[in-house]
Amino acid sequence: MSKLKHRFLPYLFILPSILILVPVIIYPLGFSLYNSFQHWNLQISPVSQGFVGFTNYINTFKDLTFTQSFINTFKLSVPVVIIEFVIGLGIALLFNENIKGGNIFRAMLIMPITIAPMITGFLFRYLYYKNGLISYLLLLIGVQIPKEGILGNPITAFWGIAFTDIWQWTPFFAIILFAGLQSISVEIIEAAQIDGASFFRLFWYITLPNLKFVILITVMIRFMQTFNLFDIIQAETMGGPGTATRTLSYNLYYEGLVNYNIGYSLAIAWIMIFTIMIIINIFVNFTLKKEEL
């Protein structure tokens, strides 16, 4: 569509949305950047206790909990998004077989996405209990559950959280990739089939290239969301046992609003924001370069 040229009008239309976001975005960002260079513990003083330069930032690298939470964040978000994508694509391909009643199945599949992540966390916390349904089913098929319960053991708690996220968001990939599959024109597929292309060749040379944009968009959205994951952890483990399930988000919350190390936690916040900016940049260069924004 052709676009109009106008000197002032577009800015005038955008201005209100920027003005309302200044007090809730720009000011807090400035506030947090300034105070990330201050020593400030809220338990000791209601105002910051002096400029300390980059001390807070340097301290993060000496802080084992921080480095662990940094690793945890990637250890959680990378495999979780890959698993969600692979299973989701599988389900989307299943739907694409034009099964009768597909509409009803798809409507049911959307349900996990609609739930507040905090509520999903409560739900799975119940399922993970020692005699909860998941523990029971695992025992039934002969999988040994740790004595302290799924969420009581550092390793299983981590995978418990990952599994919760996978349960909730695999349908996201399934639904959107299915929409992408449906938009591939039938002619291309039929032509390839007439030429004798096997299922796998068809998938590799026709389906995947046509889905590229949808895949990049969905992976980006989901990666950012799992990277920032907080709700499920708060509901299931509160970062525990110990600090085993602390992600960057949770560690930031804990330092700032439980330990009240304001200056230090704001330094963590900025490290997190920078990490995200780098990741977004990589994704944007991949996806939106050719798209007209």
Partner: protein, 276 residues
């Protein structure tokens, strides 16, 4: 040949039903939990057949109705923030959809980046700032803060709807003597009303489901449902049936809205990038 395809069809169905059981199972289980007598909560093997009771819904939402306040808070926050975002996002998304101007790409990326930023990073400054200006634990402060995700989201999705309105229609209106704002209000908004409603519904769901901000910013009387649920984790024991009853009520509105949204779900979930 025919036999084989029947076999394949059959196995596809079996596979699909297994998948559905996996994804619907936990939801059905929480519904069971909200309806079952507490004595059957933790039996081994789990009890599947029981006489349903509504006492937990009654306890949570009627008498004494502990969760009723949370429900009201959730409604105020979700309606308030979805409504507030509308005028701002209609204007901005119209400009981005219709005009070519310097900084257009930058502004779009700015909105997009707000959506991907870590909410917890904002949480600490919010907590400190709103208590300083005396707005701690109020609906107003939370509704304003929710705009950090409702406005960017609404702008991105409404732009995709405005893009579908042919520019000729409003130009015809402008030839008839209406100015640009008049054309927007009298022509473009009525045509894209379905899109505005879709955007409102998503903004409602995102605010309804948000639990990071109110975890710290809400107070005793302004707690929404997901935060209120924490009160059932008492030191004396966890009231799982009440948690389930409150959870079911929390889950219901977004589920119904998603069903009503139909084919727009895909567009909403991808911020307007993928259309069905």
């Amino acid at each position: 040949m025919a036999k084989k395809s029947l076999f394949i069809r059959f196995s596809l169905y079996i596979l699909l039903i297994v998948v559905m059981l996996l994804f619907m199972g936990p939801i059905i289980w929480v519904l069971f939990l909200s309806l079952r007598p507490a004595v059957t909560n933790r039996t081994i093997p789990p009890t599947v057949i029981f006489k349903p009771t509504f006492e937990y819904f009654y306890y949570c939402f009627v008498n004494p109705g502990v969760s009723l306040n949370y429900l009201i808070s959730s409604l105020i926050l979700a309606f308030g923030s979805a409504l507030l975002s509308l005028p701002f996002s209609i204007l901005a998304s119209y400009a981005i959809s219709r005009f070519k101007f310097r900084g257009r790409k930058f502004i779009t990326l700015f909105y997009l980046s707000l959506f991907f930023g870590p909410p917890v990073a904002y949480l600490i400054p919010y907590f400190l700032i709103i208590s300083r200006i005396g707005l701690a634990e109020t609906y107003q402060s939370m509704i304003l803060i929710y705009q950090t995700f409702t406005i960017p989201f609404s702008i991105l999705i409404m732009k995709s709807f405005f893009d579908e309105v042919p520019i000729e229609i409003e130009e015809a209106a402008m030839v008839d003597g209406t100015n640009r704002l008049g054309a927007l209000i009298r022509v473009v908004i009525p045509i894209s009303l379905p899109g505005i409603i879709v955007s409102f519904m998503f903004a409602f769901i995102f605010s309804w489901n948000n639990a990071v901000f109110p975890l710290v910013l809400s107070g005793y009387s302004t707690k929404p449902l997901p935060i209120g649920t924490f009160n059932f984790f008492a030191t004396t024991g966890v009231a799982w049936n009440n948690i389930a009853a409150t959870s079911v009520v929390t889950m219901l509105p977004p589920m119904l809205i998603f069903l009503a949204l139909g084919k727009y779900v895909v567009r909403g979930l991808t911020f307007g990038a993928v259309k069905q």
